[in-house]
């Protein structure tokens, strides 16, 4: 049995070299990521902000949605940030299916599907254009034609899918002012048995 120590030293050197190369490459890469991953706090958009009249007074159901917790969270944003230093706020607000349906009914805003082209073709929410978050730079020319104060509604597959957040980050850098994410995404939409569209929209 050959000696172990030179092997251990080799193993350690390879590990060290890997760490070094990883940190250096990441520092210089345009797609670098931060070393400590932070949690993004998802804040829901209250109806009072979305809709000029008071919220979801649906005459057939008579249900009024009040969201005091959301309002309070919005008011206490700064104090929450101090409590949880590892969390930073998102550039977007979360909307529910009910809010999304209402926005669609009022034909407000631009809807973007952040998933890949293949997933979009298999089915998407009617009226949504495909801006794959993974190749978002290629769609810069299309995005630039949208006025920055338009309401933008983004969705991905489900709350765990980060593509929506990635797209929102990119749009934030482009100075889009109103970014909403339908967090339940395509899974939520299909689970609610909403219509599936397979035509595509091009700018």
């Amino acid at each position: 049995m050959t000696k172990i120590t030179p092997l251990l030293r080799e193993i350690f050197m390879i590990l060290l070299l890997s760490v070094f190369l990883a940190l250096v490459y990441n520092a210089f890469s345009s797609r670098g990521i931060s070393l400590i991953r932070k949690e993004i706090l998802k804040i829901a958009a209250p109806d009072s902000v979305l809709f000029s009249r008071s919220s979801l007074d649906d005459s057939t159901h008579g249900v009024k949605v009040i969201a005091p917790l959301h309002e309070r969270a919005l008011r206490n944003q700064d104090s929450m940030a101090k409590l949880y230093p590892t969390i930073h706020e998102s550039d977007f607000k979360i909307i529910s299916l009910v809010q999304l349906k209402k926005l669609l009914g009022e034909k407000r805003g631009v809807m973007l599907d952040a998933r890949s082209a293949g997933e979009y073709k298999q089915g998407h929410i009617k009226g949504a254009s495909n801006i794959p978050a993974l190749d978002v730079e290629k769609y810069f020319d299309k995005l630039v034609t949208i006025p920055r104060d338009t309401l933008v509604i983004i969705y991905c597959n489900n709350p765990e899918c980060d593509l929506g957040q990635m797209l929102a980050d990119f749009l934030k850098v482009m100075e889009f002012k109103h970014l909403l994410i339908y967090d339940d995404g395509w899974d939520g939409w299909t689970q609610a048995k909403m219509p599936i569209d397979t035509t595509s929209i091009n700018y």
């Binding site: 080799e10 193993i11 390879i14 890997s18």
Partner: protein, 166 residues
Amino acid sequence: MDTGKNADRYNFDKLLVDMKNILSSKYILLLSRLILGMVFIAASVEKIVLPEIFAINVQAYQILPLSFVNLVALIIPWMELLCGVFLVSGTFVRSSSFLLSVLLSLFIIMLVSAIMRGLIIDCGCFGASNDSKVGWLRVIEDIGLLLLGVHIISFTQHDSIRLISD
């Protein structure tokens, strides 16, 4: 008569010796090195170029504390690349195969853990574009690669710069 039993034992021992000879053959070792090395080089490239995607994949396993996900997602692909290159070139062969075997063992544990918890997530094995879902097939693939790694460690006499070591 004992000749029957003795003959069987002789054949069995011969079989073991034959297997050992095949496994220590420098050409078979080269094959293992090339397969293991090239698989890991190919697997590492996209993860290095698109670290955010790989970080998302790592996070989806929900095993590491969130803060460490990015560091792990940054370092592992470079380990894969370096060890893959070393294996193919024939340098630091035992150290590289040891590290890759450790990585593979960790991957197998992560995969099984995810399957047990019923997570339906992307494996994160090869990066974003041609990824596959977590499942027992991934586990079997990794066990196969792990066997290659163990083979290399067990039967490599010493490392040398040449492609086929003496």
